[in-house]
């Protein structure tokens, strides 16, 4: 057993760190405040070829695994870019996994090269207002018609939809009550975001404001049969394939924000003199920071293990879920403690930790809530009866 990163991973991490850190905290504070998409940052990573890191080499990508993609996103978050920096690219980096695995060769050829070079922007449309965490309750419906499907329905919280050309969409193709099992009868599509049929409304929200998330209204939208990914009715199964990598990636992002928070807090605790001594000399300040470090390091181990198992082709559901839970928790606690350490200035935008705090909060809700992770572990790890 060993825990070292490979020399390649070390170099990639150093490269990602350097490029990410060339964008200062003030850049992100401004983008966040103005609600502006961080194009310069995105383009720098696209031009450097980073977005294709996990896309197969035959489509112009780097062909690496979730472990390397995770290191990339962790470094982006840890640079101070936080969720603003990660959300603009994590779907390109791993969200297209379903197309790699289940898409037709034609779809792969159409989509993957432009994802790898960063010219294609995609978003992921799963959540619905009236279904919530219970995806089987979605009602967005793709009705089979001549040559394709006619889609009607409503999604919510769809991140980056307004800056994307395409959306991976899950919709029912058979009504829930007419399906053998609730998880049957759903299909995945890759659709163009045609604003004549798709109305988008940005949701005013707490943080990560450089990237909007949207309410999506799909009205009588015809898409050709070729827009369907894989077989009809198997959408939920395909979706599940993507859940573990998503959790692993976002776990690393949460970790990154925690690291950024702790770095700022530690520096401040050394420099800020109150009562004639650095505040970090008081155990009341030092101990919570030490605890934050311990929690982040422990969470990192689980996250790395989950990534490693995924890349080895081993089952990784428990690890991916636990990593998401541990990292979201450790990241949030670190951000909260960073505010506390900064005293009143922690509440001021100038010191950036309040931005980290607002962003780290998301991870306890999405992509899966902490409660649903506990449900998963109760049921699938401990074998307790399902509660819902």
């Amino acid at each position: 057993m060993h825990f070292e990163l490979t020399p390649d991973q070390e170099q990639l991490r150093a490269g990602a760190r350097e490029l990410a850190r060339s964008f200062a905290d003030d850049y992100w504070a401004e983008k966040d405040q103005k609600g502006e998409f961080p194009w310069d940052f995105y383009n720098a990573f696209a031009e450097g070829g980073w977005l294709g890191i996990a896309i197969p080499t035959e489509f112009g990508g780097g062909g690496l695994g979730i472990a390397e993609a995770s290191l990339l996103l962790e470094e982006i978050a840890a640079s101070g870019a936080g969720m603003n920096g990660c959300s603009i690219m994590h779907l390109t980096i791993f969200g297209l996994n379903t197309i790699v695995k289940h898409g037709s060769p034609a779809l792969q050829k159409e989509i993957l090269p432009s994802a790898a070079d960063g010219s294609l922007h995609v978003c992921f449309g799963v959540t619905e207002p009236n279904a919530g965490t219970d995806t089987t309750r979605i009602t967005t419906f793709a009705e089979k018609v001549d040559g394709g499907y006619r889609i009607n329905g409503r999604k919510v919280w769809i991140t980056k939809a307004g800056d994307s050309q395409k959306m991976i969409l899950i919709a029912r193709t058979t009504k829930r009550e007419e399906s053998a099992r609730p998880t049957d009868g759903m299909s995945l599509f890759l659709i163009d975001i045609d604003r004549k049929h798709i109305d988008l409304r940005a949701i005013p929200k707490m943080g990560r404001n450089a990237v909007s998330s949207y309410e999506v209204f799909i009205d009588n939208y015809f898409v050709p049969e070729s827009a369907r990914i894989g077989e009809e009715g198997k959408g939920f199964k395909y979706l599940l394939d993507g859940l573990n990598p998503e959790r692993i990636l976002l776990a690393h992002e949460a970790l990154g924000i925690g690291r950024a928070s702790l770095e700022k807090a530690t520096r401040y605790a050394k420099e800020r003199i109150v009562f004639d001594r650095p505040i970090g000399q008081n155990q009341g300040i030092a101990f919570p920071l030490a605890e934050a470090q311990i929690r982040l390091d422990a969470a990192e181990l689980m996250a790395r293990k989950a990534a490693w198992r995924y890349d080895q082709g081993l089952p990784c559901g428990p690890e991916a879920n636990m990593a998401k839970w541990l990292c979201a928790d450790a990241g949030f606690k670190a951000a909260d403690q960073a505010i506390q350490t900064h005293g009143g200035m922690g509440y001021a935008r100038e010191y950036h930790v309040e931005r980290y705090f607002r962003e780290s909060r998301i991870m306890r809700l999405a992509p899966v809530s902490q409660e649903m992770v506990l449900n998963y572990v109760s049921q699938h790890v401990l074998g307790l009866p399902k509660s819902y």
Binding site: P7, D8, Q11, G15, E18, S22, G48, G49, W50, G62
Partner: protein, 261 residues
């Protein structure tokens, strides 16, 4: 153009620099090490010249095993190959001994152009370019803020930074050119660059491979000796001048008292 660029791995610019208590050499083990920042400008300039005129960029470094990280960074940026001179016996080499070793390695590469940066951030000697030029018997152009190569005319000219402008100086090739930070904006290694770097040729040489005589390098061959060292005194808190309409005059008086103006 066959371009050689020298790079050095140094303790991270922001790290507190310490000397190893046993032999008073720079402690490279207890700190993060990075490519000397100024060398990034050298690598960038070499890459630009190659992009304009074709050819090959070879990175040369002398340093411990770990210095291979700095080589890989230069290769990730786009250099074509590298030579790493590494040997326990080289530990403790002073500037003279280092220049002898590097000159020996560089001469086997028959470069048209050798690019160095003005100084490394650890020892800050700023003499390596001159020492190399002398040992190789080549002209040296220093403090270059712009480099123009004319391979047809076998010439290199530079804008040499001066106190109140620049001097335009030129030399025949081969030559040694020392660059300053103003010269360019070093690129970041790209993802593909990093992946490609590991497949590029890297020659590792011991002192014996390089044909160096054991007595002429390392602590044994050093012509200077560090007798004693003191940590830098902690920085004093600055003097704050409060502007009550006379701020400018007060600042001037302060600077005059320090004999700075």
């Amino acid at each position: 153009m066959n371009i050689v660029v020298t790079v050095k791995q140094v303790p991270d610019t922001w790290a507190e620099k310490k000397l190893d208590a046993s032999d008073k050499t720079v402690d490279r083990k207890s700190v993060d090490n990075v490519m000397n920042e100024m060398d990034e400008y050298g690598v960038e300039e070499a890459l630009k010249i190659k992009e304009a005129h074709g050819g090959e960029v070879t990175v040369v470094t002398m340093g411990p095993e770990k210095a291979v990280e700095t080589i890989r960074k230069a290769l990730s940026m786009g250099a074509d190959k590298a030579v790493h001179l590494t040997d326990e016996s080289l530990h403790g080499s002073d500037a003279l001994a280092t220049s002898a070793a590097l000159a020996k390695v560089i001469s086997t590469l028959s470069p048209d152009l050798i690019i160095t940066s003005s100084e490394a951030s650890d020892a800050r000697g700023g003499v390596m370019g001159a020492l190399l030029a002398e040992r190789l018997g080549l002209p040296q152009l220093t403090q270059a803020r712009k480099v123009t190569v004319d391979p047809g005319a076998n010439k290199v000219s530079v804008e040499r930074l001066a106190d109140n402008g620049y001097a335009l100086v030129e030399a025949t090739l081969p030559a040694v050119v020392g660059v300053v930070e103003k010269i360019n904006q070093p690129r970041y290694p790209s993802f593909k660059g990093i992946m490609a770097a590991k497949k590029k040729p890297l020659t590792k040489l011991s002192a014996a491979d390089a044909g160096l005589d054991a007595g002429s390098v390392g602590l044994a061959g050093a012509t200077s000796t560090v007798v004693d060292a003191q940590p830098a005194p902690p920085r004093q808190s600055g003097t704050i001048v409060k502007d009550e309409g006379d701020g400018g005059a007060k600042v001037a008086a302060f600077l005059a008292a320090q004999k700075l103006i």
